[in-house]
Symmetry: C2
Subunit: 152 residues, 2 copies
């Protein structure tokens, strides 16, 4: 039986697949509040020509627009890869209550892998869970980078 976390992470993985189809690194994110999806987004750095256009940032911006507030204190953010420092900082700034990510990122993950930003004394501390559907996320990333190498 699929857990609630898996249900939302599946939507984030669908977003990651959309990113790959557009030539973007396949990472997707979903913001959920009270059992309802508020926003979803995927990495769009190349299309938007912006280093800020990570899935988490776009999902947070969209959720804030929809809720009419920069405070997402009753929201959970699902993302298919451990957030980088920028996105971890955004999650903290937006007071996101809970973060659930699929796969760890040893290269740039800022929630325990390279750095552990939520462990510092900051204004907000999201609870963090990880490992939900990590194999599906890693398979997507590996397939994407294998294809990129072939095209070079």
């Amino acid at each position: 039986m699929e857990s609630l976390h898996e249900c939302w992470m599946r939507l984030a993985l669908d977003e990651a697949r959309m990113a790959a189809e557009q030539g973007e690194i396949p990472i997707g994110a979903v913001v959920v509040r009270n059992g309802e999806m508020i926003s979803k987004a995927h990495n769009m750095c190349e299309i938007k020509k912006s280093a800020v256009a990570h899935a988490e940032i776009l999902a947070i911006e969209e959720a804030s627009r929809k809720l009419g507030s920069w405070r997402l204190s009753d929201c959970t953010l699902y993302v298919t890869l451990e957030p980088c420092p920028m996105c971890t900082g955004a999650i903290i700034n937006a007071r996101v209550q809970k973060l659930v990510f699929a796969a760890k990122d040893p290269r740039a993950g800022a929630c325990g892998s390279l750095i552990n930003i939520p462990s510092y004394p900051m204004e907000s501390h999201p609870t963090v869970e990880y490992g939900v559907m990590q194999n599906e996320s890693l398979d997507l990333l590996r397939a994407f980078f294998a294809k990129m190498r072939q095209q070079k």
Copy 2:
């Protein structure tokens, strides 16, 4: 005689003043390339109802739009307060070559105060300078918070 750093920081301080006039925490940022200003912005979290709308993020987004690239590798970013983890991460993601900030932020500064994100092994390492016109920046912040307390 005013230094080049002071000249650009003065523009960032003008942006910070504009933020204060709009009821936003007075922080301003400017992106410069080859002696030319590419973008300037100030904190707009309340107006835009977005925790992502820090001066640095808005200035990076505008610079990327103008230059047509997410890579700002020949750019310097001036900002009136030490960047938070989100903005420090964005500066690294955007490959900004140099960061100059005015005042340190012991509460949330991620370039040496609370955390030192640029010291971790990441894909890009901006050189960091600070202290340029720090008193002017701190005066603006103190006046803003004093006014806020009076209004409560």
